[in-house]
Amino acid sequence: MVQYSPPLDASFAALADPTRRAIVDRLGRGDAAISALAEGFEMSLTGVMKHVSVLEAAGLVTSEKLGRVRTCRLDPDGFADAERWISKRRAMWEGRLDRLGAFLDAHRNTPTTKGRRAPADRREK
């Protein structure tokens, strides 16, 4: 749908994975090195790196390499996207209600449904 911007899609998709949510949860309690994350989650360094790179691509996590240690931290800006999501949703509904108005205007001269109660329109699931 058009109301999801690509970065927002990426952040939601990134968080759809339980391991990545656990990583974000862990980073919420403090910055951590890749090796510490790997140890904490009993994963390979490569495995953790993969998850971290998805989180980085989504703008949720940043990492910095100092010497041989790569340290990860949360990027709060990525989570502020939630607000943008809500404003997009509002715009989506505004657009829909505009079109409903146009439809009702056009329908006024041909009120084929006027007076009809809403049907209990049972359908197969």
Binding site: P18, L104, R117, A118
Partner: protein, 171 residues
């Protein structure tokens, strides 16, 4: 701890007054052949044969939006004809006064929060109808990051997703 993001609005409300009787406005939301004529969004069709409305509490309200605009398709990097399902569940149904709808979290669609949309249809007299639409709440899953701390939020998210796996896509 890093700086927290500002908390998000919990919900929003939109009010519109239409020059149309309430039964017609309600029908426009609940009859597939009418809904198909306005649901949109711009650049998309919602064919009436792809609209299914089970108008009762717990019933599904399902639509498929089909991408028609070349321009939007190019912008989205998706082919014309791409289909976007939009499925919610009715949680309140009071014809012709009220529709409450809930979308389940759809991680595969990039949506990990559940949203509730409530549409009130008020008879204003003189064949006029006031529609009040509210959408939310988002705070527990979204703004909640700021309000409750990361751990609690993700525990909630975890439970939310654990209970919702395999459900159909949504707005």
């Amino acid at each position: 701890m890093t700086d927290q993001p500002p908390s998000a609005d919990k919900k929003f409300t939109i009010t519109r007054v239409y020059d149309a009787p309430r039964t017609l406005v309600f029908d426009a939301w609940t009859r597939p052949e009418l809904l198909a004529q306005w649901w949109g969004p711009h650049g998309f069709d919602t064919p009436s044969d792809k609209v299914s409305i089970d108008l009762r509490v717990g019933g599904r309200f399902e639509k498929v939006m089909v991408l028609k605009s070349e321009e939007i398709a190019a912008g989205m990097k998706m082919p014309v004809g791409s289909e976007f399902p939009d499925n919610v569940e009715f949680i309140e149904v009071v014809p012709p006064e009220l529709l409450g709808m809930k979308s389940k979290p759809q991680p595969e669609m990039g949506l990990v929060v559940s949203t509730i949309t409530r549409v009130e249809f008020h008879d204003e007299g003189g064949e006029r109808t006031r529609v009040v639409l509210s959408d939310g709440p988002y705070t527990e899953q979204m703004g909640g990051y700021a309000e409750q701390g990361w751990s609690q939020s993700f525990e909630k998210l975890e439970r939310l997703l654990a209970g919702q796996v395999g459900s159909s896509p949504s707005v």
